[in-house]
Structures are given as C-alpha cells and as structure tokens.
Amino acid sequence: MTMLNIFLLSSTSLIFIGLYGVLTRKNIVKILLSLNIIETGINLLLVAFGYVENGEVPILTSSESLKNIVNMVDPVPQALVLTSIVIGLGTTAFALGLTIRYYKTHGTLSIDASDEEEVMLNE
C-alpha cells in the first residue's frame, strides 16, 4: 500500500460518497455538501496524480535543484487544484445564495418542493 494508492483510494471513496449523497439527499444544503465532498475528492485525486513518492518541491531555486528534477512533484495538478478550489468555492457560494432564495420562495429546503411549480404556474 503505497502512499499514492492511499491517496487514490481515499479520493475515489470521497467522490463516490459525494455522488451517493447527491443522489439520495433531498435537502438542498445536504446536496451542496455532497457536491463539495465530490470536489474535495477530485482535488485530492488531482494532487495524487501529481504526487511523487518522497518528491521535492517543484521550485527551481538553483542549478542544484535541477538534478532533482525527476523527484520533483508535478506542479501542474496543483495549479489545477487551486483553480478548481476557487471554482468550487464560487459554486458553493452561489448555490448557497440560491438556496436562500429557494427557501424564501418555497418555504422549505426540500428539492421535492419545486415539483409542483408547473401546476402553480398559470395564475
């Protein structure tokens, strides 16, 4: 069980837990939480992809560090993860805002509540 496998396993489990949550929860806040869990899982996965056992920081400080370039952790996934986190944050913030609106208009946080909108539409 290498470290990488642990990372992969945990990230995949996180993703699946999130997917399950999205599927089964009816409360919007819980669904958003599940989405966040998925995102965390993905971030972990991406970082794991760039992970190198006993790797070094991928910063070229000197010509010395050039020798260790093989051991360096891939920096691109980390950049990706950073972006992804930002986007995830944005999504969550925006979704929570919408959720507040949802609660105001529907009087509940259950996703079922929006089913009957069609019926109430024509007035």
């Binding site: 993703i15 999130g18 997917l19 999205v22 919007i28 669904i31 958003l32 989405l35 998925i38 995102e39 993905i42 996965l45 991406l46 992809f49 691109v76 996934p77 990706l80 972006t83 992804s84 986007i87 944005g90 999504t91 925006f94 979704a95 919408l98 959720t99 609106r101 949802y102 208009t105 529907h106 996703i111 509540a113 929006s114 909108e117 069609e118 109430m120 539409l121 024509n122």
Partner: protein, 490 residues
C-alpha cells in the same frame, strides 16, 4: 491575431464595469456585443484563419492557446448574434446584475469555443453554468429559482465528472492541450481511453441537453425570460454543438476520418441521441406550455445534430452543420416570438394564443416559417440538414438506417405539434380574452429578418455552403487542420 483575446477580455471587463454603470449598462452591453460580433466577422473575413494564438507567448502544449479556425470563428459569430438578439428583446431588466452576469456568460461561451486547452474549457463551461444559472434565476420567483437550483446541481455534478476526466488525461498523457491530446490519443490503452471519453462525455452532455442528462431543460426554459431562452439556446446550445465537434470529433477521433475512436462509444452516443430525439418529441407532443414545447424541441434538434455528427461521413456532417445553422435561426425566431406571444396573451399556454397570427400576420408567418424549417420542409433551411443526415445515414450501416427511420418518425410527431401550434395562432380569438399588450415591433422585425434568412438558405443553400464545407473539411481532416495549426513544426 493576439487581438482575439478581446473576445473574452472585453466582456469580462464589461461585466466589471457594469457594476458601476447604473443606467447605461444595457447600452454598454449592446455596444460590447455589437463590437464583438463585428470583430468576429472581421476576423472571419480577414483571411488569416486558421491561426493559433499563444497567450503570453508560451508555446503549446505548455502555454495556453486559443485556436481560431473558420469553424470556431463561425460559431463565435453565431453565439454573438444570439447574444445581440437576446439583448434586443429584453423586457424591462435594468439592474446591473443582469448585464454583469450576461457579459460573464458571453465571455465564457466565447471562451469555450476559442480555447485550445481542455482545462480552460472546464473553467469556461463552469462559468457559463454560473452565468446561465444566475440569469435563469433572475426573475427571482418560485419557478425560476427551482429551475436554477436544479440546473446548478446537475451542472456541478457533471462538471465534477469532466474534471475527473481531465485529471486522468493529464495523468496518462501529461498534457492538457487539445491538439496535443489529439495527436497522442493512440498511445493510450483502450480501457483508459474509454474511461476518459465516458467521463468527459458525461460532463458535456448535460450542457448538450441529451437524454437522460437533460432533466433541467424544460424547467430552465420555463423559468427564464424570453431573452434568457435565446441565450440558453443560441449561446449555450451553439457552444455545446461546437464542443461536440472539438471534444468528440477532433480530440477522440481516428485520424482524418471524423469517426470516434471507439465504435462502441460512438454507437452508445447514437443511441443516446436517438433516445433524446424520441423522448423529446414524444414529450412535446401533448405539452401545452409553449416554452416547454420549444425546450423539448431544442433537445430533439440537439439530438439530431449529434446523431449527424456521430454518423461521421461527410454528407452527415454537412447535414449536421446545416442543422446547426437552421436550428439556431429557427429556434431563435420561435423564442423571440414566443416571448412576445406570452406577453400578449398573458399565458404560457399555446392554446390561449388564438388570433395572434391574425393580429400580427408577419409574426404568425415567421412562426410558421420557423416551425417548417425545424420540421425539415424543403425550401426552408432545415431541409438541407435533414437531407444530408438521411443521406449520410443511408450510406452508413444498418444501425444508422434504423436511426434515420426513428428520426423520420419523430419528425412526424414534431410536425403535428408544431403545425398545431402554428395553426392555433391563426384561429379566431376567443371573445372573452383580451390581449394584455401589443407585440413589440423590433421583435417582429428580428423574427422577420431571420425568417427571410431561413427562406434564403432554404432556396439557395449555396449561400453558406462554402462555409459549411470548410467546417466539414476541418473536422474530417482534423490532423492537418487543427493539430498542424497548433504545432506547425511537427
């Protein structure tokens, strides 16, 4: 050609400025969009296409690049056209949020088309999702909020799939550049490749309104205003159609054939496309709310386009491009007019729209023309698409022939409900019903011009044939036309 960055930067800046421009924000939005439209047309006609723009001078695959080909710029033109139309038919929105979000959406959908980098693609598609969700939710009432939430959840879940796919691509190929991926795709082992394709397809199919990924569609169309509908269909839908050409037909193809690398996946996609057509047309058959009918029809047309792309031979792809254009124009007419009709009759039900066609014959005729084009009647633009599709399918395997038979059967259903609605417009008005308002002239003018365009293309398909042929050529010879642009030295 670095100026093509303006296509994204100007709207983003506009989105920021809109926070401060109090009353002028509508004007500003129009100016920006018009500028973009003119600018993209200039690019298209400049003769410098195709070109790859390296941002910051970083060479791909290490830097981020934009790819400007006739295909992508053509789509940009369409997207911006839809944007202008949607701005023109806005009813009374004055707040800065709307325009700000709209400009973000514009930037993001342009970005989807222009980008040559798959992670950027992810970011832009997330941005469009935000933008459109905000716009759908903009009326702030019950139905729009519900629709927005539903869409947001679906889109976020799908984006997660997309991101996983991108991650695996990076893990296996070590690159995020589309051209680079396309050239290296044969190095992948089949199972990984399939996993990647499945994950990425899941990501984009939500936006492409394919069944069963499209549970958000009717609600979103119903929740949004008319202008948001035009954006949803004209900007997002068109960008989605572009996505399919890039992701499926450039990135994951057998070199130079226009066919997906994996036949099984291709067949599954065809099945999904056919399911979409079938489900959407049948669902629309008995639907009373006109916006939902149009939403279902949009789904169906999207399914048709993807079916065309998936058939993969030249005729079918030409047909699919014709369908993209025809669907774009015809649906825009219908959405624009539907907005007016709903405002007039005060009801979203098409049965309550009796007599509108008699009051506004031009609008009624434009509606009929739009529906006939969608049905694929000859001498209207949609026919050439349908013709190409059928021809391509008949030249293809027996599976495709079955598919085209299903398409034709659903065309019957589509014809019935569209003409039923079109005829309802010409019924005599119920005496107890008064129109709440008058139709706005500029909407009708827009619809009429687009209707004339449909007839022009229908009678003389040669008008856009060269453009479509170059686009088809680009897809069929993706190596020479895409990879070589990005990596001229290889």
């Amino acid at each position: 050609m670095n100026s093509s960055l303006f296509l994204i930067i100007i709207p983003l800046m506009g989105a920021f400025i809109a926070l401060f421009a109090k009353k002028a924000n509508r004007l500003m939005a129009i100016v920006i969009t018009l500028f973009m439209e003119i600018f993209s047309i200039i690019i298209y006609l400049s003769g410098k296409l195709p070109v790859s723009v390296e941002i910051g001078g970083w060479q791909p695959p290490y830097g981020i690049n934009f790819v400007l080909t006739p295909l992508s710029v053509g789509f940009i033109i369409l997207i911006n056209l839809a944007a202008i139309i949607s701005l023109f038919i806005i009813r009374g929105e004055k707040s800065y949020q709307f325009y700000s979000t709209y400009l973000v959406l514009l930037a993001a959908s342009n970005g989807i088309v222009l980008t040559g980098d798959i992670f950027n693609f992810y970011i832009f598609s997330e941005l469009t999702a935000f933008g459109i969700t905000a716009l759908i939710a903009y009326p702030k009432d019950r139905k729009s909020t519900g629709a927005a939430i539903k869409y947001l959840i679906l889109a976020s879940t799908a984006a997660a799939f997309l991101l996983i796919g991108i991650g695996i691509v990076y893990k296996t190929l070590g690159t995020l550049n589309i051209a680079d991926i396309a050239s290296k795709i044969s190095l992948l082992d089949p199972l990984t490749l399939e996993l990647i394709i499945i994950l990425m397809l899941t990501g984009i199919f939500v936006e492409l309104e394919l069944f069963p990924f499209n549970m958000w569609v009717p609600k979103a169309y119903l929740g949004g205003t008319a202008s948001v509908n035009v954006m949803l269909h004209g900007m997002l839908g068109t960008a989605g159609a572009y996505t399919i050409t890039r992701i499926l037909l450039t990135m994951f193809t057998v070199d130079g054939s226009g066919l997906l690398v994996n036949v099984n996946i291709a067949n599954s996609v065809i099945v999904i496309a056919l399911l979409t057509i079938l489900v959407s047309e049948i669902a629309a058959f008995n639907e009373k709310k006109i916006k939902k009918v149009l939403a279902f029809s949009s789904m169906g047309q999207m399914g048709l386009i993807i079916f065309g792309f998936m058939i993969g031979n030249e005729q079918a792809i030409v047909g699919a491009f014709y369908l993209v254009v025809a669907n774009f124009v015809a649906k825009t007419i219908l959405f624009v007019l539907t907005g007016e009709f709903i405002a007039m009759s005060g009801s979203g039900n098409w049965e309550d729209m009796k007599g509108i066609g008699r009051k506004h014959p031009v609008a009624g005729l434009a509606f009929v023309i739009g529906s006939l084009s969608l049905m694929g009647v000859p001498f209207f633009a949609g026919f050439w698409g349908k013709l190409g599709l059928i021809q391509g399918a008949i030249n293809g395997s027996a599976f495709m022939v079955v598919g085209i038979v299903i398409v034709l059967i659903t065309a019957i259903i589509e014809g019935i409900y569209f003409l039923k609605i079109a005829h309802t417009l010409f019924l005599e008005k119920d005496s107890d019903r008064e129109y709440l308002s008058k139709a706005r002239v500029h909407s009708i003018v827009i619809a009429a011009i687009l209707a004339l365009a449909i007839i022009a293309i229908g009678v003389k398909p040669g008008l856009i044939e060269s453009n479509i042929n170059s686009a088809t050529d680009e897809i069929l010879n993706s190596t020479s036309n895409y990879i070589d642009i990005v990596f001229p030295r290889r």
